[in-house]
Amino acid sequence: MKAKRLLTSLLALAMIAGLTACGGEDSGTAEQTLVTSLAEEPATLDPSRCNDVVGDTILINVMEPLIRIQENENGENVPTGAGAERWESNEDGSVWTFYLRDNTWSDGEPVTAEDYVYGIQRILDPEVGSPISFLLSDCIKNGNAVNLGEMPVSELGVKALDEKTLEITLEGPTPYFLSLAYSKAMYPARQDIAESLGDTYGADAAGLVFNGPFVVTQWTHNSQFVLEKNDSYWDKDNVSLDSITYMIMGDENSRYNSFENGSLEIVTVGQPEWIDRFNQKDNVTFTEYVTPSVRFHFYNTQDPIFQNENIRKAFTLALDRDDVVETIYHGTMLPSYSWVPQGVASGETISDYSSRGTAPLTTLIEENPDAKALLLQGMEELGLGSDPSTLDITFSFGGTTQWLRNYGEYLQAVYKEALGVQIQLEFNEWGTFQSLINSGDYQVGYQVWSIDYNDPMAMLSLFVSTSSAIPTGWSNEEYDALVAQAGREMDDEARLALYQQAENILVHDAGIVCPVVNETVNRFHYNYIQNLPTNYFSSNNGGMKYVSIQQDS
């Protein structure tokens, strides 16, 4: 164990020595190093089994997807060739061909189309048990059959035509496929490495190979990651940073303290007090952007009380979203009136879906000024009498943080005042919460959903009858049909109309979900850090590739 660690540190030293030796022409410039943080330890670096934000953060910097998002000078997102030099689709958008550029893995092997094929196969291979298989299973040809073990992985609609040409055949025309191509589901993987490491693939940095802008040179579990520039990366001339250190810091205050004294150089802040304090520092820059994540309540439609849509709507309407933003978030989040969050593109011509049309919840609020009347009506329909205080209602939360408990207590007070209902609160760890809602053992749940790829489909497909992502027990044929139809509609405007109809059924007609707020990121960084991405998708897909440290003048 010790010898191994010694070896890694020697290797790291050698690499640093090598870097400084060949970086001779950079002499006199600022040191290109960056220290930032992760909120927790990633479960694994195996892209097919990674299911946490922190893992994604590391992976985007060390792996090369087919496409990366790059911001143009106006801050707009432009899909840019990364692992693929260019790509094309057939006429109806059901077969896509990617022409790969010359790139090498960090051990010197060339990156081939087979590597991308193997990466996608792993996501759908039932033996691997990828938690993100749902992203691809409906869309790639034979995806579901392979994922269920009914067909061998070789039957999957993913083929290497030659060393550098990748062909992906879909179940049918899929307008949002390109946004999947830059999601986490399409990283390449090396079959020889994955097979030789077996179950330990991704559990440690040792033995892994990378083809992105950086490589992981050190992973001390629960402590830190050290990433160093990858010299075999195709675009290494455009990579400025020599190393990035990700400190794993679970405690929020520790992160703020570290940023305050300069030992962390980038920090995202959730506390308004700290935002005010950092705003007073003169050598830092503040960036605020919307993340397409929605914080919402959802109702169990199989519950004796919440089977009634008027009661569901009453609970949705009783919440004053502006007040939530003020009291709970101190103005750091945005009120949400629709299921699809802000900042989601719908095809190439519609950059923000939410900017089109009226949000379904806004309409619902206008139609029903009195939430309590709606509740009483619902109670009458169920024969529950007319005294809301007799209702026995529990809200379930998938977490136990102080913040969440505060929020729960806020809800208690709000519902007591607005509806006269005394709600109970139940806090469980995430895993337990998931078990409870999966087995339908809840009434109202609270959750956050961050979009998986840049299209309203990623949100709306969660409520079709076959999805178990948010188990409300609700199914609606018209909704299913609309979503299915939108998934094949190649015209952006026509698709938008279908999405809007479906969303209206979900939020306005049936009242299954109660969107509360859209998340925003409040980020500070020291001024000498340049070219940090300024929006959600470019951060997630650009990573630190283009970031640099300003030279001292």
Partner: protein, 310 residues
């Protein structure tokens, strides 16, 4: 003596066996399971395959037999479910070193200061040094750890820029966590040593010693301390095990990759193999510590040696 130790080793194994068994069935009887959140988006068939992969589809008693068989025949604690591919025993070995370093230093520092303070307080009963020590001792246990850690971190790393905020690997990373962890120990030992010394100092044999003309220093050294230390040893026995299992809150605040994190998070994540691993580890340390204490009791207190023989 050998017979005594052999007998105790047998009891230790028996105790460990019971600990494992009880924990195993306890953790399977609480709601939630390790794969619930990973498998939430999977179709039913895939989800079943997933559970089968970890043997979680089998009846609980069968899982128990498999676990025990691997443990007894191969000494294998299995692989973490939450962190796929990581061996539980490796995690225990690596992280307990970290916790052991911080916790061990804190324990030594705490005992050294605590015992000194306790002796000072006892010898100056109801005078100002006594009150000062009591004040420190009370401060040490009434200030919640997270408050103390946050305060020290704020002042030493943000205000004075003296020490690193978080991290692991440099000696300077150790300073704050060791201080924070030692507070409780200081308080504990100061209080117990003082209380016991007062009691011992009133015993007849001390009077005898004083009457014989033994110098006050030698009375304290040879007679008082030796007897006053016994309860401290009992406490030490509970602490030795905790040293290696670390402190969840302190580790979190100072970014220390210790075992305390796994001790709590494995239960939160329902990471079955890791729960058993940490429990076996703590249990083994604890029963060994108990054995050592009983032996030390015998050495420190000659009156009890007779008992140890049977």
């Amino acid at each position: 003596m050998l017979k005594f130790v052999l007998k105790r080793v047998f009891y230790m194994l028996l105790t460990l066996f019971i600990i494992i068994t009880v924990t195993f069935f306890l953790m399977h009887s609480i709601p939630g399971d390790p794969l619930a959140s990973m498998a939430r988006n999977l179709p039913d068939q895939t989800r079943e395959n997933y559970y089968a992969k970890y043997g979680l589809d089998k009846p609980v008693w069968e899982q128990y037999l498999i676990f025990m068989k691997n443990l007894v025949t191969k000494g294998d604690l299995g692989e973490s479910i939450r962190y796929p591919g990581r061996s539980v025993s490796d995690t225990l070995a690596t992280n307990s070193q970290v916790s052991g370093t911080t916790g061990g230093l804190a324990l030594l520092l705490g005992i050294a200061i605590g015992v000194t303070l306790g002796i000072i307080a006892a010898l100056n009963k109801n005078k100002w040094p006594d009150y000062l020590v009591m004040f420190i001792a009370i401060l040490g246990i009434t200030v919640p750890v997270f408050v103390l850690a946050a305060l020290l971190q704020y002042f030493f790393t943000v205000q004075f820029h003296l020490l690193p905020t978080t991290g692991w690997g440099k000696p300077s990373n150790l300073v704050l966590p060791v201080i924070v962890l030692s507070f409780n120990t200081i308080a504990t030992y100061a209080r117990y040593v003082k209380s016991n010394m007062l009691e011992v100092m009133n015993q007849d044999y001390i009077l005898t010693a004083e009457a014989k003309g033994v110098t006050p220093f030698n009375v304290v050294k040879n007679h008082v301390l030796r007897n006053a230390f016994l309860p401290c040893i009992t406490i030490l026995g509970g602490q030795i095990a905790s040293v290696f299992t670390g402190s969840f809150i302190v580790e979190r605040i100072f970014g220390i990759p210790g075992l305390g994190f796994y001790y709590i998070s494995s239960i939160n994540d329902r990471d079955y193999t890791m729960i058993l691993g940490t429990t076996v580890f703590f249990g083994a340390l604890f029963v060994i510590a108990q054995l050592l204490i009983d032996i030390v009791y015998g050495i420190l207190d000659p009156r009890m040696r007779i008992k140890a023989k049977d």
